[in-house]
């Protein structure tokens, strides 16, 4: 979650950038490149693709930042660009040549205190990842933004460009499908 301080900082960086300070944009890249890279990596499951899409995201941000009206938060704006880029990249490059689900080498299983642990092995993770990947784009994105990026439904609605209720419903359908598939 972003606190008020972070948002102020974003608006400060944007105003500095609009005043012609290129260092401000460099700071924006510094601040968000990790989040965007991991988000795109989770979507595309390919390091090279994730790097390319992350770079493309910041280039698009640079080109469009002058038109940014500040109606939404900067990070939801960046997420939106990143997700659109992922979608385009997937349809252009990966759809015909799909990459195997989560390269095992990229994952680390942290210890869990969950009383009903479901994902016990890396194979379990691979299996659940396959289920998530089969979800339609809206459900998959809503689920991933909620789980991995900890965005509120309002923020998800901002990123995806639909209502809060749609975000809730998409999330609910995604959860239902994942659990149903997992139990098979």
């Amino acid at each position: 979650m972003k606190d008020i301080k972070d948002n102020l900082s974003d608006s400060f960086l944007i105003s500095e950038f609009l005043n012609g300070d290129d260092e401000a944009f460099s700071s924006i890249v510094d601040k968000y490149q990790r989040k965007i890279y991991y988000l795109t990596l989770r979507f595309l499951k390919n390091e090279e693709a994730a790097q390319e899409v992350t770079q493309e995201t910041f280039i698009k941000l640079y080109q469009n930042l002058k038109a940014f009206k500040g109606k939404s938060n900067l990070y939801t704006y960046i997420y939106r660009i990143a997700i659109n880029n992922c979608k385009n990249y997937y349809h252009k490059e990966l759809k015909s040549n799909p990459i195997s689900i989560y390269d095992i080498g990229q994952l680390e299983l942290a210890s869990s205190n969950s009383p009903f642990k479901i994902l016990k092995t890396k194979e379990d993770i691979t299996r659940v990842s396959k289920i998530i990947d089969k979800l339609p784009h809206k459900q998959k994105t809503t689920f991933m933004l909620r789980i991995f990026e900890d965005l509120s439904f309002k923020e998800i609605a901002n990123v995806m460009g639909f209502s809060i209720n749609s975000a809730l419903v998409n999330y609910h359908i995604a959860i239902k499908k994942i659990i149903k598939e997992w139990r098979k």
């Binding site: 979650m1 969950s114 009903f116 379990d124 900890d150 809730l168 659990i179």
Partner: protein, 215 residues
Amino acid sequence: MECKFNKIELIKYAELKRRDSFAFAQDDNAIIIDKEKKNIIEQHLKSCPFCQKFIEAYQSLLVDLKNVKLKEKDEDFWAVMKASVLEKLSEKEMESTLLSRIKLWVASQKNNFVKILVTSSLVFFLISFYLSIQYKPNGNNLPFTHLSDSDIDMMLIYNGKYIESQNLGTDKTEQPDESPDLISPVSTDEKDSIISPEDEFYLELLNAKEIIASL
């Protein structure tokens, strides 16, 4: 048989629990449910094993998924990433600057282009007009059809006859069609083998003068 209880409400309830446990999504009003509904859900969960399992599976899945971490990259990776973003940006900036300069130049030259176009059209029209007056299409004024005296002499020397049709528009005196006297005294074989082209020319000119004088 699956329970028909509203699963969205169940998920909201689970998300509220998660928020309270992990202090996350504090501004998420979408998952707030009133006390009355909360009590109904809790009562239902006590009596319905299906919904209970659903909630348990949901919570476990979330916790497990959140524990799946992608491998952290070192600082060099981020430094290279940032540098390549900035490099690409400067490349794009240069491209767009070049493009905008070309556009500006074209825009600034717009008036000059119009002037050049008008002037060249005018010049072309004037030249066409001059040519149409100067050279009429009946063929009499085509410069390359007028044969000089020396041309006729040369024609006599080489062809042995003067062809009227080649002297378009001239009033030159007619020459005999064919005469054995007009044939060059030097044979072709000799010309090719012994005499140089300059000598051959003077020789033939001499012969021609002699022939004309004897006529």
